[in-house]
Amino acid sequence: MRAWFFTEDAYPYLPDEDSYESIRVNLPNKHFDPATGADLYSMYLDMWCAADEMGLNIMNNEHHQTATCMVPAAPIMLGILARETKNARLLILGNPVSNRSQPVRVAEEMALIDVLSRGRLECGFVRGVPYEIAPANVFPYRGAEKLWEAHDLITKAWTTHDGPFNFEGRWFHARQVNIWPRPYQQPHPPVWVTMGSAGSAAQVAQRGHIGAVFLAGYPRIRGIFDGYRKAYLETHGTDMPIDRLAYCALICVGNTEQEGLDGAEKLLWYMSSNKVPPQYSNPPGYHSPEIAATMMRGSNSGTGLPTSTNLAEQMARGNVFAGTPDQVYEQIKSFYEYCGGFGNLMMMSQAGFMTFDETLASMKLFAEEVYPRLKELTANYDAGQMQELRASLPDVENVNVSSLASEFVR
């Protein structure tokens, strides 16, 4: 297992929630104090550097026009980390290439970070959440097709070393592509792509890239990971290596159960602060008409968006792993076995008002007490055994977290 420390770099100092319509898109930036922002950037960079020192890997991302994420240009933060860190793999998850007009620029930025870091970049591509549509001003219909066209152009730019090539696609045009620098890693940095259904997973699997899933929980994870494994086997003729799948959850490890739960409550700011009106969460062409219609009725069901910010419920759904090191390990192991295994754990371990010290304490406990056991878990991965185990576990919407905890606490 490889663990990836992740914070979304929130700016949490907001006015009364009733005083604004949305935390995304139209929240006036008068609420962003630059001096406070500078302190926060410094803190987040220090957290990532601490992750590097603890032997964790680093993940970052970007969003636009939002207080939930102060970083509108993830490559800039990665450029700093390429220089400031020594060992961590540097994952950007990801470049919102469906919303960007210049894939060649993305290829250049990523190659630069890869060289600066001497080959530590892991490059993700994402379609982006619906609230990114208004800031990007891009019509989201056929966004997945657009993502793959950008992907094809970028990977070709990374792997072409004998002068310019031509690209004239449906969305992107570049007639003299010849990037400098080229990537450090050969043939190119590992590619990650987010997925949210068996269908989108199949497209990632067919290309052999790492498929990443955010907060799908027990209710949706099997459909997605099963879709990946099946398409991988059909395309490549072998079982998927376990490092091809990644799952992101909110994680807090405490010295006591209560300490872990208290930290997890703070992490839930990520969900509870996400006040977004329908015109930004349901832009035309992003969701299918069926899902768009349910959202017009005022429901989030079927959208993949969290419907509850209750900690116990989110833990039961497998979106939050929290408690003592033993408890967190058992919660992750339960989820891991249920979904058939994954080799990358993206851990959102800081959000909202969680302080630097609180975050580092949790990360340290994770790195020292949980991570070694997770590495052992995946080191012993056997595709056949895992599928037998997975098949023996019935489909569930939730698990009884307290039973997991009581059974295994030493």
């Binding site: 898109v25 219909y141 015109q279 035309p284 062409g285 008409p289 219609a293 017009m296």
Partner: protein, 259 residues
Amino acid sequence: MASETTTVVSLRGVDVPLVRRGSGPPVLVLHGGEGPVDHLPFAEGISGGYELLHPTHPGFDGTPIPEHFDNLQDLIFLYLDLIDSLDLQDAIMLGFSMGGWLATELAVMSTGRFSKLVLVDSVGIKPGGPFDRDIADVFASSAEELVKAAWHDRSLAPSVADMTDAELQKVASNRIAHGLYTWEPYMHNPKLKYRLHRIDIPTLLIWGENDGIVTPEYGAALRDLIPDATLTVIPEAGHHPHIEQPDQFAGRFLEFAAS
């Protein structure tokens, strides 16, 4: 009620549903972003002396978006084929909102098959500068803001609560098609204002006095760019004067059509 027939016109693999209603000189009706208007009372009001031809734009009313469609250009060229296929002669072209933009684009290409043009609360041009929001951003507006901008009598606005799931999915599909045809440049073609001089048939612009999507001032700017155009403003109506004031709407249409 006037007789009504529904056919499908197949144009190189794209099927266009077509509702024909009434008898007399043809009126090609191009609907706006809300979808087909053939079922509305105003249509009854003008179908006595005219044959109304109501095509449904691909993507609306549950029809698929053709694989190669990206923007309004695709619709314009589809309708060039449709107009030839219907062999229209001396027809009146009547366009609502986005359909008005479509009608204008068709008219600047050729007015050969048309005798008159009627544009209702139409989009298609950008009179102001880059920082001016000439057309309300309907895709970034809340449902409440939209109702406020589009309706004089807000009680007439369609209500999600009154719709069946199937109806609501149709609305959601219409919204996708509307976005496809109008997203960027938003609801206009920057080149269109340099082409409007080509419209050499009498043109009537009908506008709702309280339209907050495109105001009567926008209508006046459009009128000023079309050689033989007049603007008539209907009181107590917003973006849909044909729905809010169907009798007045039909009256002004019929007067112009007969002139």
